[in-house]
Symmetry: C2
Subunit: 299 residues, 2 copies
Amino acid sequence: MILIDGKQTAFTIKEELKSKIAKLKAENQPVPHLAAILVGNDGGSITYVNAKVKACAYIGMESTLITYGNEVSEETLLNKIEELNNDDSISGFIVQLPLPKHIDERKITLAISPSKDVDGFHPENVGRMSLGLPAFVSATPNGILELLKRYDIITEGKDCVIIGRSSIVGTPMSILLSRNTPTGNATVTLVHSRTKNLEEICKKADIIIAAIGKPHFVKAEMVKEGAVVIDVGTTRIEDRSKKSGFKLYGDVDFEAVSKKASYISPVPGGVGPMTIASLLLNTYKACVQSSSKLANHQS
Amino acid sequence: MILIDGKQTAFTIKEELKSKIAKLKAENQPVPHLAAILVGNDGGSITYVNAKVKACAYIGMESTLITYGNEVSEETLLNKIEELNNDDSISGFIVQLPLPKHIDERKITLAISPSKDVDGFHPENVGRMSLGLPAFVSATPNGILELLKRYDIITEGKDCVIIGRSSIVGTPMSILLSRNTPTGNATVTLVHSRTKNLEEICKKADIIIAAIGKPHFVKAEMVKEGAVVIDVGTTRIEDRSKKSGFKLYGDVDFEAVSKKASYISPVPGGVGPMTIASLLLNTYKACVQSSSKLANHQS
């Protein structure tokens, strides 16, 4: 069994970006610049945004953190988004979710210019991805593709089962793995709460991607000997023995399943650490794309 | 075996729209207005666009046909699209594909405002559909959903196999049938040229949607007794005994498969006639949406 180490892979990606950005600086090229809008004082959001800002600093990427109190109006946010859309010095930006209830998250997502939407949440990016056009793919699916690629896991012709049809993980993963690309060409079955013979379907899979948010849902009996198992689930369960007060549970019964799997990603330390790396990859891409557009305009 | 009669269903939809539009007229509400841009003299395109215009007239929908010669510039087309985007009297419009080679089809598709894109080809509409947001779904997938709905075919919990992963049929169908909706909730497997055990997978399906473009690809041995079979394929094969000079072949060996299927759609007369009906449904929807937006602005 080979452990898919997301922490190490994310580290490698950051090192690669660090040297690419150093090269841009040496050549006097524009350096990627990520802006993040943070609203309110949700503990999780603050921690996560801070980790993003810290990661930018580590790799030499510029970052701007814009914070608002919980009471900020939707209009103020929309104005700021418009400003960032038109600011050539910003390669891409994100609005950290969730937002306070008086703000329409959908309206906010739609206001971000698709060319700066490094979170890949705008419908135009989702559609471009589905159509096989260049797009920003959102952090988790992008991170999973990077893991498959960097661990040389062959997807072509494999039977792949995705558990869970969420808009941010299951559905995009099903599209990405079906496409005619080096990390695609799999035969994908998307299973969910209405699926009748879920265990039987999983048992035949060469690759299982579990993104259902139910702790230890995938048991050893549901997994074929030698399957690749990617665990996307993260459920917090209270645990007073932990400093944080909780323990993170994946969707996969790791201890039992790891004895049968050929490759398996753990929780924590698997897909999770890849999300920030994916965001940095997208921001780097946005910067390079806008630089080449600018060069085309000037030539 | 029940024959899924697309011709009859399309006729019913047109009759429904006809009376809805008559009602709009009686109430002095804006009437749907479809514009179509036709470039060059491709025989198929001319026939198809004319059929659309004729269908509009039949149901009392307004239509405008804008034609250009083969040599029209991309800029002229883009200017016309911009004009139609901003013309409040146009509910929605289409640019008939294919276009001459000197014109970038992708650029043209992206220029159409998503709110007037009644063909549902703009990435924003594809993405909105994937995210479960209100969207214009393109003609063929939309037509298949209408057939499933109007024949009371239950999709929930069914094993559904889609053959072919094209951007315009297979991929959107896989997303639509997976979603949590009355015509969704199926367990979908998308199979394609790289799938290894295609026959075996098809044999287990409760619902098969064949959209691969290979005449009589689906044989009776690949179909379970009682399965629902939807045939999307249309391949023209020369046949001098026909007035048109060709015969239309579906992806399904109808004669043999119809003996096992519970429901089956023929070619011709199945999914094909539904495409124009879908376009009319989308244009009607675009009109109603823009009227209600206008009313909201005025109130």
